[in-house]
Amino acid sequence: MRIWKSLGQRRGELQPPADEFPEALPVGESVRQVTRRDFFRWSGLGFAVGLASGCDSKKAHKAMALIQGQEGFTPGVDAWYATTCRGCSAGCGILAKSRDGRAIKLEGNPDHPVGRGALCAVGQAQLRDLYDGERLKGPRIDGSGPGGSAARDCDWAWLDRDLEKAFAEVESRGGRVRVLSNTLTSPTLRAAVGRFLEGFAEGRLVQYDPISTSAIRLAYERTHGVSLMPAFHLEQARFILGVEADFMGTWINPAGFGRAYASGRTPDGKEGMSRHVQVESGMSLTGSNADSRVRIAPMETPAFMEHLAFEVERHVGLNPAARILPLDPKLSRKAEELAQELGAHAGQSLVLCGFNDLHAQIFTARINRALGNEGRTLDLAKPSLQRQGDDAALDSLLREMAEGRVDALLVLEANPAFEVPGFEQSARKVPLRIGLGLHDDETAALCTHLAPDHHPLETWRDGEPLAGTWNLHQPLLNPLFQTRDAAESLAQWAGRPATAQDQVKTRWQAEVFPKAGGLSFGDFWHGVVERGFAVVAIEAPPPPYREDRARTHSEWTARAFLKAADHQLLLYTKVSNLEGRHAHNPWLQELPDPITKITWDNYAQLSPGTAEDLKLQQGDVVRLRHPGLPDLVLPVVVQPGLHGRTVAVALGYGRAKGGKHGTGVGTNAFLWVTMGALRGYQGLPVELSPTPQRTELACTQDHHAMEGRELVREMGFAAYAKDPAAARPHEHSGALPSLYAGHPKGKHQWAMVIDLSKCSGCSACVISCQAENNIPTVGRDEVRRKREMHWMRLDRYYTGSEEEPGVVHQPMLCQQCGNAPCENVCPVVATVHSDEGLNQQVYNRCVGTRYCANNCPYKTRRFNWFEYGHSDPVERLALNPDVTVRSRGVMEKCSFCIQRIQHTKAQAKNEGRELRDGECQTACQQSCPGMAILFGDLNDPGSEISRAMTDPKRYLVLGELGVMPAVNYLTKIRNGEVPGEAAPHAGGPHA
């Protein structure tokens, strides 16, 4: 069939064009290749990709109204959980406040035997730790093994599968698996580790502590035949001798020790005041509280302890062997004096030594035994399990790893890549490295597999800090990230999966419940969950003393000591940062060191004399050298009270991977810790060479003398005991004439009394206040500009000479003046007086003239210089919903925790009763280990505060200004000499 279109065509007159519909269009190649359909295809794909990438991987995006209530959960009402702090290995019991499913405040559990209701700054800051947006958010596998490409996130099933294969390989190679951790106080976790290691031919758990107290355990092994660390009962001691042990600052259990210590520091008690002497080479928080301080060079401690042990044993009638090591005659005399004093307090004294040296610790054990302190002030029957680290084991692990004799390494609750010099090189020889830490830290960077643990506030765990004292950790909220409890991970890998809660419960059912007794485990468990801990009896008698003295003697005589150099290193830890584990926590980074008042950095402390000899000034950068060690370059801090030979450097700084707040802050001094059977932290000879650089340290207090002003009153105990009325200051009493009528008086009149004898300066109150009141951190530069925001600060002054200064700490907060200078100067009435005696700052009325801050004699007001960040969605979960977050340009200050006052008032009203005395506690008061802060209602004549107001020691800071502060202080009583006591009221103006 022929198709024709026209007659002409049909007749052949017109030929159809050869290619009427040519295949090729007369356009460029490229266009021809992309057809219309292609275009749709590609754009459709693009649309889909855009859609997909715009999606969030998070599952839950629903906000659901709580139509059906849950049992025991009322929106907006606090729930309190008794759990345990894991800021360090001390294991203090805490009560955690939870609101609407999120933890918002941690406080000490008053019933708990370890912390006794105190919670230190680090403990308080665990809240910020929980809401750290930089925590590891899920499991991770290193791309291609050692030194391989970037790590990639995966899911737990993938990780477990990958590890299953890896463990099979390990087993085939010989199954030499090591678990490395800091002290594991959790019996459940230890059991999980044990079960996991059972699966391998040769598995072992190695524990170490970044700040080792291994020597104590070793010493007791030698003297009593048992490797243990005694539990110390400072509350039983009338005389405490601390030797290089910062037991109120950082050593073992600072919060609990602090509270126990303070209980004996009551000058009005029947038994009088306990006495505390500190022998130290640095200037520690504990030393700053001592009634008497003895300065000693870092390397002199073992010799000093030998002399002291000799003198004490002689004093109590034992017949010690002669002394071997020579000692500075002054120190030798001091040892004699101390032996006398110790002898006078036999059975009521306690010697604590923090030097990680076997012989020093053996001498300490001998002294405590000779004085009959065992069973009284230190308990060997129920020893402390807070530090179980074994330096020798760590050392041999490093050797094993370096020699390639370890097939797999698990790191648990530790950051050895930062804390242990030489760890990184050795660990790289281990083919399989698994990290179970929470943070993307130095160790995580080294691991082939990361299986991040939950934060302690997100999971079930237990702990046994003291033998017989069992702690419970319980979760306050669902895990924020895709993490998994370490015990669950270990159980999974051991092939016996079990939830953390089940594991804990099983263990308690097996180990605690039978000893604790009770009708049913259900009831028992219920009680434990409510109280947060259980105490079980330990029947075993304490080990008897059975030292092989001849062995000690021969070792001691044969011992080679480091050369007593002119400059000796002292590596210490700061109250705020401990061993660096909390470097990512800005609250702690910005907490001023209680002694130096420096934030955000570490530095080399030198005594004023040494600094002068070397022509160094505060802020000069100095280079510390020791052959074979990398140089440490640090700014100088001139520290009064330091021994002339001491060069003190804080550990825990210079984190290479410490998060946005911790990375690069300070210099890592862990490299200078000497490894071996016992790790050494002090005595290393140091050469100092100045550099031309200078840095400005972020210090919150630049001036250290009281300038003859009577801001902190101090008095010797002897004088006070003779005549307590002598402490009464000659103060202007009664109201001053005023043009204005007084403020109306309401039902309550709030006031505070701060007992300076009990304040150790530990700064727990500062962080407690920060957590309670949503106080922002401002960063190192802003602190350099003197713009830290803390509402509560600790003023620290030195008295006496530069070489042997007295130190006083004074908590300083808004004094809630009855005749407040800040109130009358505000043009817009943004700061007003309440009828309950509070000076209230109205943030949304404030226009920010700063006149009030200028006119505040105490300088306790803080201005929002910028809009301080509360924008991080994870970090902002830490905000207390009861307290307004302040915006840029407004003034803020201590409110006496008005939200807590209102809360207790509402509670009392709901219950139809009057407010009880002591019911209402400020955050600073609640956290204070020394219980130095008393808060209450002056209108209640029976209240403790009303009684405290009649204390002869009570005085007002700057009371002579007539501002009528509501915060009162009690004169600091020192059980010893007080510098300049001849004129106790010197310097105060007598109007």
């Binding site: 630049d702 250290h704 002003r709 003197k786 100067v825 043009p827 817009v828 920010g848 200028n854």
Partner: protein, 452 residues
């Protein structure tokens, strides 16, 4: 009346045997000609400074007061220093125009217009600082007692800052009205000389229908006298109230009953020095040497000498009081001023404010425009430092040594200060061009009538 005699006996008030028309021609010439090159360059310079200041203020407003060097202890520094400085500068204008008017000091006629303009511009600069120093300037109106819907919120009448708000706004309003009323006859002259068009129309409006009649003059004179009477107490009250920002506080170094007279005298001192600086330059640039004569400079220098000496006495009194009080805080503040970390500021202040004016004992120096200019610049520097010393040295080490700090200004603060000078000088330069810098009508009143 003594004034009749006074006006006729001083032959040197205006030099050059001017006739009325000569005065008119010469005084109004700058407002009617194209600007000179020198003027344009000057405006470019001051305008740049102003732009720098505008940038700095923008930084402050967008980022926060944190861009300044203030801290937890020192809450005011450059901001309030600049404020007090500029308020002080303003005082000379009011003193010259009001008090000297009431005392019939006829030599004031050739300088009062410019001095008053200076007052207004200085107060404008001053007013800027309390505004921008606020943490939240967008709610600055809360400091005004405005009826509002924010509940019973009202201002705090006990606060010296509120007194400031009243004092400064009153001062600005009275000064501006006084100045404007004084301008009326000259505005009318300008209107009459204007060729027409917009200029004439605008000047017709602003001269308020001035017709030069006897009635007009009579009303004008009585109003002017009344305003002078109103402005006179302001010379004393404004700086008294400003001083109370400090005097009513509890901060040692601030808390002093001496402050009101001390501040007022200091203000006149700095104000006259500033007038002298401006006049020495302006008379040269604008060719007004015959109107603003060496005798004028001489008379003003005497005021500077007198007030400077009183200021020196005030410094000495402060130190004496501190010693005599036996108050350790007070004593420390003054020792710290003279010997502490800000001693350089203190000694700058003392050398500029105590030593410099003593040169004016010499007539030769009083009559040398160059020396007068240099010395008066020093006085102005000294007076700025006086306020800096009072504010910063008192705050940085007050009661608790734990909070003692050092304050260091940032570039933003320096730029804001420079910017305020830029604003002040630009306004002044514009004023010189668009309005008669010399009160022609008043000058004509003091010409010697017998000469023509």
């Amino acid at each position: 009346m003594p004034d009749a005699a006074a006006s006729s006996v001083d032959p040197a008030l205006i030099q050059g045997h001017k006739t009325y028309s000569q005065v008119t021609e010469e005084v109004f010439a700058p407002t009617e000609q194209a600007p000179s090159k020198a003027w344009i360059i000057a405006v470019l310079c001051t305008g740049s400074l102003m732009a720098l200041g505008a940038w700095a203020v923008t930084q402050t407003l967008t980022t926060g007061i944190g861009t300044w060097g203030l801290n937890k202890t020192v809450g005011w520094a450059f901001d309030i220093t600049n404020f007090v400085f500029w308020v002080g500068i303003g005082h000379a204008g009011t003193l010259i125009s009001a008090i000297l008017y009431l005392f019939r000091q006829h030599w004031r006629t050739s300088i009062n217009r410019a001095a008053e303009a200076m007052t207004i511009f200085a107060v404008m600069c001053a007013g800027l600082f309390p505004l921008i120093h606020m943490g939240r300037p967008w709610v600055a109106h809360w400091a005004l007692p405005l009826p509002n819907t924010r509940g019973p919120l009202w201002v705090n009448f006990r606060s010296p800052l509120l007194w400031d708000v009243f004092a400064i706004s009153t001062y600005f309003i009275i000064s501006a009205v006084f100045w404007y009323i004084g301008l009326l006859p000259d505005l009318a002259t300008m209107r009459d000389r204007a060729a027409g068009g917009l200029r004439k129309a605008a000047l017709s409006v602003f001269s308020l229908g001035w017709n030069g009649s006897n009635h007009t003059w009579r009303r004008y004179e009585s109003l002017y006298g009344l305003l002078a009477g109103l402005a006179t107490p302001l010379v004393v009250s404004v700086h008294t109230i400003v001083s109370m920002d400090f005097a009513t506080s509890v901060i040692p170094g601030w808390h002093a009953t001496l402050f009101p007279p001390y501040f007022v005298v200091g203000a006149v001192f700095s104000g006259f020095a500033m007038v002298l600086c401006l006049m020495v330059v302006a008379r040269k640039l604008m060719g007004f040497e015959e109107y603003i004569t060496l005798s004028h400079l001489d008379a003003m220098c005497k005021v500077v000498l007198t007030t400077g000496s009183i200021v020196a006495l005030a410094y000495a009194t402060e130190f004496f009081t501190a010693w005599y009080s036996v108050n350790p805080f007070e004593r420390y503040v003054f020792l710290n001023r003279a010997m502490g970390p800000y001693k350089w500021a203190f000694w700058t202040m003392v050398s500029c404010n105590v030593v410099t004016p003593q040169f004016f004992w010499f007539e030769k120096i009083r009559r040398s425009p160059l020396l007068v200019f240099i010395l008066c610049i020093f006085v102005n520097i000294g007076m700025w430092f006086e306020r800096f010393v009072i504010i910063v040295t008192s705050l940085h080490r007050d009661y608790l040594p734990s909070s003692w700090v050092i304050y260091r200004p940032t570039f933003i603060e320096v730029a804001t200060l420079l910017g305020s000078f830029g604003l002040f000088l630009t306004l002044f330069l514009v004023f010189c061009r668009v309005l008669p810098m010399i009160a022609a009508s008043e000058v004509k009143g003091v010409l010697k009538h017998g000469d023509h």
